[in-house]
Symmetry: C2
Subunit: 100 residues, 2 copies
């Protein structure tokens, strides 16, 4: 196991912080199934429009999500498939009962 360079620790910890919230982690999990628009994510997470928009904005700024406007809807998707691996590692830790 090789050490992460100090200069990257900062970036990685900022990225983690952008995931370390119940709503944002739920969004990430839902988006693993494919792109969704804000309305759909509102329904899926139960967050309010304003609140969700701010969470999505933060994740986009941190490079976790990408967005694309189609008509009056904005679709969000995961920017980097490696986040799927990260969620898998999370599942091994926090959902040991799930056979994945």
């Amino acid at each position: 196991m090789q050490m992460i360079p100090t200069k990257n620790i900062k970036e990685a910890s900022q990225g983690l912080r952008a995931l370390a919230h119940e709503t944002r982690l739920a969004v990430l999990c839902h988006l693993l199934q494919g792109p969704m628009c804000v309305q759909e994510l509102m329904a899926a997470t139960g967050a309010s429009q304003s609140n969700l928009s701010q969470h999505l904005s933060k994740m986009r700024l941190m490079g976790i999500l990408e967005s694309e406007k189609r008509g009056q809807h904005v679709y969000y998707r995961i920017a980097n498939p490696d986040f799927g691996e990260l969620v898998l590692a999370l599942k091994r830790i926090y959902c040991p009962d799930m056979c994945s």
Copy 2:
């Protein structure tokens, strides 16, 4: 990819929060090499004694680390090897240049 149950999202996001700090992530990375005592971790991270102790305490309470007292030193180690996988996923995202 199977969805993480809502009831576990909370726990997982709390766990992530316990990692989402520059000092704590650095500690985790160092401990991947093996157990270390507080002094060694102070030298490795540059954090102050009190500050580091609080970070270690939080990680221990969150089940990320375990500690063992040996003489006047307290050795910390990673409680769950799956956190190593999580760090590997982080490396793929934030250190794409590192050939790991």
